[in-house]
Symmetry: D2
Subunit: 346 residues, 4 copies
């Protein structure tokens, strides 16, 4: 069995992996499609992010879907042949936070393809993978594997929207139009935002934003005063989804939101300078959002029902053997949104 293994920055290899035994509560999934996420790119380029560092080779990937090929004894809700989206998060269910229903804050979380704990939890970019049965979410025939592999990032954006509170009739600004920003457009539109504006510093992601349903876009690099001018004429926004992690974007966000408004911070980006005085005098709410919980199932459900269509955001699919090329392509924001790997082709 082969998989996509990161060894060190820029050292990404197709490697041969041991096939683990299956426990009673587990399933073996033949992986069909996996999507490359921004955090995968951080491992690829920098060997980690923030304080999280690669300390041993790790299979990447936490956005993937496939078909059940083997069942543990106790597993009932799926069968061999079932098509599933795989939830990469496995909370312990026992800790203080799990007992309160805050599973994304589990102190013993096992999140696939993450170097946060050591030994690292191996990811899903391999020809098959063993996961807990609870992680395998059945999908209908109408959903493609490519869409199912989008359930994880869509869940992230649904969770962010839940942190924002009701968007019905709200004017929403999304700063950063990468895959997470673009999915947030789909979610904000679905959640009833009356207006969606999007910022980025490149043309291609802004064009994709328009395609995803943005009412207007601002290139803050080529026209830094465009957003402030727009706010001056039309009033500030009710809600901002900060999806870039960039210091300048957070500053834009804070300046563009109305007194009492909400900024949901989705992007990770360290310890920027923040205009806290504006947070005080405008009584803003800056709220963090981290991963997701029950939103994974909701993401599958909304895509399955045809209510949210993520397909236009998938810009390329490459055979997994070309993972290195795919990671470089995914790093090029001038032509890529979501890049996926096909694990059925070499």
């Amino acid at each position: 069995m082969q998989g996509v293994v990161i060894h060190a920055p820029e050292d990404l290899r197709i490697g041969t992996l041991a096939v683990p035994a299956l426990q009673r509560n587990q399933v073996r999934v033949e992986v069909k499609v996996g999507g490359i996420c921004g955090s995968d790119l951080h491992y690829f380029h920098n060997g980690g992010f923030g304080t999280v560092r690669l300390r041993e080779p790790m299979v990447l990937g936490h956005e993937f879907a496939g078909t059940i090929i083997e069942l543990g004894e106790d597993v009932r809700h799926v069968a061999v042949g079932s098509r599933v989206a795989v939830n990469p998060s496995l909370p312990c269910g026992e800790c203080h936070f799990c007992r309160q229903g805050m599973h994304n804050h589990c102190v013993d979380m096992r999140f696939m393809g993450s170097a946060m704990r050591f030994p690292h939890v191996q990811g899903g970019f391999s020809q098959s993978v063993v996961v807990d049965a609870s992680q395998a979410i059945l999908i209908p025939a109408s959903l493609t594997m490519a869409e199912a592999a989008m359930a994880e990032p869509l869940a992230v954006c649904l969770h962010a929207a839940h942190q924002a509170g009701s968007m019905l009739g709200r004017r929403v600004l999304i700063t950063g139009s990468g895959p997470i920003g673009a999915l947030s457009i789909l979610v904000a539109r679905y959640a009833g935002a009356s207006e969606i504006a999007v910022t980025d510093i490149q043309e291609f992601p802004l064009a994709m934003a328009v395609r995803a349903g943005a009412d207007r876009v601002f290139d803050t690099r080529s026209d830094p005063t465009g957003l402030p001018r727009y706010c001056e004429d039309n009033g500030p926004f009710d809600i901002v989804i900060e999806a870039s992690g960039a210091e300048a974007a957070l500053r834009n966000a804070i300046e563009a939101v109305r007194p009492g408004g909400t900024i949901v911070q989705l992007g990770l980006g360290g310890s920027p300078n923040v205009p806290v005085n504006l947070i005080v005098t405008r009584e803003l709410r800056l709220v963090g959002t981290f991963r997701f919980d029950r939103e994974f199932v909701l993401a599958v459900e909304l895509m399955s029902a045809g209510r949210i269509d993520v397909k236009p955001l998938i810009t390329s699919t490459l055979p997994f053997a070309k993972a290195f090329e795919a990671f470089e392509l995914a790093s090029d924001r001038s032509r890529s949104m979501k890049v996926q790997l096909d694990f059925q082709k070499r």
Copy 2:
């Protein structure tokens, strides 16, 4: 008539003021007591704060109380001789925010003793002052003028507590134990916090914090690891009131709060470096709080009913003619909490 006028940094003078005529909806108040606030000290030392700058001489003071000595024709709810706490804020009642009940965000706010607009709105540190009848809040005989002059900062802290949500049974950390931090202790205690911890970088304010009801205090200068050690043993806090405006205090606040917890930012302090990654991964809420609205009347009510006792926080009272000395005393955190001026003595 004389008043306390700031002309430039460190240039504070007792000056002679014109006696303005009274309009139908106004009252003339003989000022009895006025308290010196941190923003008064900013004008005194720096001629302003942030982008707010002194552009003409201004009577300082927005914490004061006195006795009605003249009534406009239309005024009914008070009489000559009525003892009143004066609410220094006069929202327009007509703007977009006033119409939504967000009076503290009024775009045409007249806030006494503030250089935010030009000409500046003159303050209350004078022998008499003319205010809108709506600003004069009747106080009972049981309330001293000194206490009544504390209604404004107490209102600020009540508003901050409202921004925090219910404190019942919550563990609350207050960073910074100046007058606002200390009043926040009284409020948190009154609002049912189960535990109140307080940080500062000096001994005197921490001793005052204990007197105000703090369960425990941490001197983050002499023992920087005290708070982190305490959190490690006893778990993080549910709510932080950040009352210092210091970058280090906000960092402490963010590190000391539990996932999903709330930090209410009360202190003004510019654009510090903020560990936004922790806000994201712990899904914290950083919420600004600015001035107050109906909490002014509530402050008067709670002091009048004996439910909150602010008297221990008043460390000195000087005749207004000694304003310069009083401002220097108020600036010395090693021996002063709230310093008030007596306008009946010279």
Copy 3:
């Protein structure tokens, strides 16, 4: 000038009305289209509802749109010829509730076509009407007068949705599929509900519900156990919009909602028997919703942007001279949803 005047139960007449003078802040609107609301039908059949009783002849109608034909001196935001939706509510702006932004609870509200105060506030079912300039909301050329006359009931449903909190990914049950229930389907769909179920006791409104976007409907008269069976298999709902005012529907609502769930009570219906024990043991939230506030402008905006399409709910349009016939038609739930009057035809 002629209008539709209710004199007593079942005594609805086309009457000749005086043309009032215009004040500085007012506009005269030539009415084009008016929609018949359930409360109009209550006046028509019963002379009122609850404690509200007709005490003098009153022009009916609070859902209408038209064209400005005369301007008061101070009016700027519209011109002669402007096409407008008319907001029938005129809060005083001065009372305790208005000052807090709770305009729908104004103690001195003037609501058109309502007998709540005496003299009654005359309604909009006349060839022209004088309203405060603030009540005239400009509409774009793309919006028909018929749609504009739907702004008021749509605003009612948007306000109800705001009372419910975020609907994103929620399973929503709507009990009662009259015009308000059907508009609530459009709103819940727009607000991101993941599933919408609807109950009624007649076939036609349920067919309309499906057309409006309901995922499933239950005829609680012909199949009383259908909804309970569905809940047993699929779990209870997160949110109920009770849009009927019927005792049985509220009971269904309470039984069909999950622990901690929300029931928004929209329908008026007196003092029914309520299974309060279930509210207690399931910790339900039963929340009232009354009229609307800023949602009127939002309703115009969402229809104008093509985001909510109310046209399929308009089942008939009759010349205003046939008002009696129109009111009888509107009362027949087996074939009518929204019936409108055309004031340009006789």
Copy 4:
């Protein structure tokens, strides 16, 4: 070993009980004090309440405290000799609601002294009892057993207050001044209510309410217009805690609360007539509250720290052998608030 066993309405006996074996995760508690709750009285007088009916003899009691006399092998947080308050609720930890942190809605809840499930879960009114280690909450030496036995009803009232939202500066009405109403007074006072009014239909509980800290009381039987008159003069309340379960009290509650205000329904009382029209037009929130969750530990903590003093509410203590007499005494609201049983005396 002997215990207090209900066999049928009015058939309460001291019976001899088997001593169960101890499992690894359990502790054996020598019961010291047990308090009689309203639901115990329902079993005593009526053999149950609502649809809950006694189907076999059952030891009563879910408010009790004692000393650990035996430990299961896996138990660590207490020792033989530890003094504990016993939490009578044991949620399964596995069901849909437990996983969301909504333990009081556990579908497999084992609540002591309750006939909700069959076989019934035996209660704590016996000389010793075996409970899960998680149910035994350590108390400090400063807390008497009598106070510790009040942790359960205090937890109920703390949970109700959490359902109400922040009480800081709110005007609170409590309808019904039995033990739960009176404890709610202590909680509302502690949570920062600015005013607390209480209603009942008897003199003794109202006198106790004043002793517990009520600002004013209304005897709605002897003076039915007292509360409405008071509201007319002083305005309606922000929050009502309905602690009686009586139809008339809920009606009073709804009429006495301001637009947008909250009524927390604590009392159980079937399916009364409810003025739903007022809920609609005033946009009230009627919220149920059921038992408690983490508030049990909080109750112990607040009593231990001396922040809430429940002792004045304990009106009598009888040896457990006189249980019948004690239950009759507890049923007499003209002279009893909380009646407790002493299990160390016969």
